[in-house]
């Protein structure tokens, strides 16, 4: 089943067509890879989907709902979480507080209705609400084996743990689908191995994963489905086997052979 699809999505920055009529399909419950050379428009496409940016044209359908051009906070409440290429943590807060921020709209009843009444209630019940959030955040830290670092400031964490924490914060919002923007960038092989385990556990948890990644070993090992972008256009889509042998993909990555 398709949980998310983009229909002919384009983004034009001045004279540059960053994303050109891309149909990107995400299958529910699978790990979907999005690869392509640098500047292919992968992150731009991510930004369109997660509401960080508005597409120039085209439509984005998530879970049967048109989410094109909605603000990021709304989209995240519908169930799309993301991480960032350059890690964006709340550096001056502790690890557990970072995850608590991810739970922001999970306390109380519904993510959209009655928020103001909720906010007033939470003003008077701050302590009990904090405790509830704290427990939930701790259970997410346990899921990622980060509970030992809970009182550490986010800025003091080693790089690999910062990546994990960002994923934990995104997962805390209970998303249906999580977008990971180059999670393995700058990681050594052992850390990448560990990350693979994390992504597998996210999948087992029932959350669809969309992954931008340059590490081909990771992508080929873990993705069920791969989409390839080059110069803003989709050039291929299929299983890792199909992508590996696709001549167009090879050309995009290695260049064309001179005749």
């Amino acid at each position: 089943m398709r949980i998310l699809e983009t229909q002919q999505v384009s983004k034009i920055f001045g004279g540059v067509v960053a994303v050109n009529k891309v149909d990107f399909n995400v299958e529910q419950g699978l790990v979907n890879g999005l690869i392509g050379p640098n500047g292919a428009g992968k992150t731009t496409l991510f930004n369109q989907i997660t509401g960080m940016d508005v597409p120039t044209s085209g439509k984005i359908i998530f879970d049967g709902r048109d989410i094109t051009g909605l603000p990021a906070w709304k989209i995240s409440r519908y169930g799309i979480a993301r991480t960032f290429q350059n890690i964006r943590l709340y550096c001056d807060l502790t690890v557990v507080e970072n995850v608590m921020m991810g739970l922001h709209f999970k306390v109380g009843a519904e993510p959209f209705r009655g928020r103001f009444v909720q906010a007033v209630k939470s003003y008077f019940n701050a302590r009990s609400e904090n405790r509830e959030l704290y427990e939930k955040a701790l259970s997410w830290l346990e899921f990622f084996n980060l509970e030992g670092l809970k009182d550490e400031f986010a800025r003091n964490l080693p790089y690999g743990n910062q990546r994990e924490l960002e994923i934990a914060r995104a997962m805390a919002s209970g998303p249906k689908i999580i977008f990971l923007d180059e999670p393995a960038a700058g990681m050594n092989p052992a850390e990448t191995e560990h990350l693979m385990g994390i992504i597998n556990r996210i999948r087992e948890h029932g959350v669809t994963v969309v992954l931008i990644e340059h590490d081909m070993k990771l992508v080929m090992n873990i993705c069920d489905n791969i989409t390839v972008l080059s110069f803003g256009q989709k050039i291929a889509e299929g299983t890792p086997e199909q992508i590996r042998t696709n001549p167009e993909v090879i050309e995009a990555y290695l260049g064309k052979e001179d005749d």
Partner: protein, 312 residues
Amino acid sequence: MLNFFQLIIIYAGIYALMAIGQNCITGNTGMLSLCHAGFFCIGSYATAIICKTFGLPFWFSLPVAALASGIVGFLIGVPTLRLKGDYLCIATLGLGEIIRNIATNVNPVGMMSVPRAQLFGYQFSSRNKFTFILLIWFFVLIAYILFRQLAHSRLGRAMVAVREDEVAAASNGINVTKYKIGAFTLGAAVGGTAGCFATAYTLTVQPSSFTFMVSVMVLCMVVLGGMGNLLGVILGAFIIEFISYFPQLVGLSSVIPAQASQIIYGLVLVVMMICRPQGILGRDKYRYGDPRSTFSKLRDAVKSRKGGEVKA
């Protein structure tokens, strides 16, 4: 001399209210705003108009002053809070000046002999400073309790998220614009109440007194005491007020020109930035991560200590 100390304490109270408002905007939500003098002006005028022109009691003017500057804060906030950092600073600076200029043009001479505030027939006058100290610091206490609770609640947490990283906050489902406008409105409303008390004390309103320097002074209090730290902010208000009355206090006001205090607190700020950039009491430390009450933390600490002694 005692009289003079009392005066400083009263002004420190009025400015502590302003600084609590500024703290909500700058310390918690991270918006650099420089128009608190404008809100101060609106609060002062609202009180003067209600008490003198309409002849209504002071207590009625208090919520009106808060509401009036809150509404102005909201109206200013909606268009300007899309700006960030320095740009927001410049825009709010301009708006503060606009408010002052409107006041100067509409009412160039100011308003004199505003009726005194009364409570159960007792008149709060500047002759009996002690009761006025009680009045103003009672309201500072209320503001402190309310804003402390705010900082500990979900709203305060979301405000901190907005301060730390707007993009990440939005990706966590926090409506950044709403929280920014909300914080700005609240901060403006508290600035308005400060203006209300200033009028109740001096019984006059002078449009020329709401200069840009007032906004800078309030911002200095927040930076000096510690951004986001309410107690620090109140301490900052004390220190800045003390410095600005220093020449009179040591009886050298004829020797030291009034402008000298500006030099002194410029100097204080520079020294602070070099030696202790996080402010005197440090930045806010609302550890949402430890939801236990202070009492139970203390109890646990005592328990663990006893346990350790038994083992030894």
